[in-house]
């Protein structure tokens, strides 16, 4: 069980990011879960393969990827598994009645109420699902919101699909994302550590820094150790170079 989950998550993550090598872990997850006949094992593996097929522009593969798992889940009445699998089949254009007992956000989404579905997903704390719900809209504004959110999440494949839908509608000036630079202080230094780092970068020794900031020498030692650890470097010289590269301190030394 844990192995199928790990394989499913790995494959799904690669598929969503558009990274290579998604099919091997997903195929293995399915091969391990299918013989069990258990919907809580088959469902996530089948849904991940359906997602990968859709993201790669192979919607015709969604039916085969989900058929067996959906039958098992419908018999066992697992609303979230039924809902997820039914939603992928609906998204892939398979016209069929929605099975009873699909979880609400999926049922609402399949019913075409993308705005309410997006709100339900947001309330549940599922931003990726909320963005995919927005992507079902037939208007430019929600599609742009979906695109921004997917780019923020690093979901490159879904973002590309939404960008294509926008371009088909004649939308221009689309963001090229993902945002390439980390905003703010990227390594999580505290204000005091930033002060100490600035003095390290000026070439001061710990005793001098302690004197300057009116701190005990031992406290400065701790701050310097924390700085080296957070910057992932071994020496004060490397810390200075990192501080300049990450623009944590000015270059005027």
């Amino acid at each position: 069980m844990p192995r199928t989950i790990a394989l499913t998550v790995l494959g799904l993550l690669r598929a969503r990011r558009g990274d290579p090598g998604q099919s091997a872990p997903l195929d293995e997850a399915w091969a391990l879960s299918e013989p069990t006949g258990e919907s809580l094992r088959m469902g996530p593996a089948a849904a991940a393969r359906a997602a990968a097929a859709w993201l790669e522009g192979r919607p015709e593969d969604v039916a085969g990827a989900t058929q067996a798992a959906l039958e098992v889940a419908a018999r066992a009445r697992f609303p979230w598994v039924v809902g997820e699998l039914a939603c992928w089949r609906w998204r892939a254009g398979i016209g069929e009645a929605v099975p009873d007992g699909a979880a609400e956000p999926y049922a609402v989404q399949i019913a075409g109420e993308w705005a309410r579905a997006a709100q339900l997903w947001t309330d549940l704390g599922c931003p990726y699902e909320a963005a995919l719900a927005l992507a079902d809209a037939d208007e430019e504004e929600p599609l742009r919101r979906a695109l921004n959110e997917l780019q923020r999440l690093g979901a490159r494949q879904a973002a590309a699909i939404v960008a294509r839908r926008l371009r088909v509608r004649g939308a221009t000036g689309l963001p090229r994302g993902p945002r390439p630079t980390t905003e703010g202080n990227p390594v999580g230094l505290t204000a005091r550590e930033m002060e100490v780092l600035a003095l390290v970068a000026q070439g001061l020794r710990n005793a001098e820094i302690a004197e300057r900031l009116v701190l005990a020498a031992k406290t400065v030692d701790h701050h310097v150790s924390a700085i080296l650890r957070k910057l992932d470097v071994r020496t004060r010289g490397q810390a200075s170079a990192e501080a300049i590269r990450l623009r944590l301190v000015g270059q005027d030394r």
Binding site: G21, R156, P180, T181
Partner: protein, 90 residues
Amino acid sequence: MPRYVVERTFPDGWHVPADTEGAELCLAIGERNADEGVTWLHSYVSNDRTKSFCVYEAPTPEAIRRTAVRNDLPVDVITQVRVLDPYFYD
């Protein structure tokens, strides 16, 4: 070990000075990559320095992404590649 091309975008340009500071930067990147079993082979950089195509050997795409975060480098696209040698048939 699988080989990958990693495409990166630097809106302000990617500047590695050709002096000891640049050498130290590259060395630091190499050391952090080594922790993940990632090897940076070389890179092609556009003339305006806003795009780079970096050739890597790495165990997985995730290892490349982890080292990119630690090195504060952006990642656009990771593609697994094989070498094609046009002079193989000579």
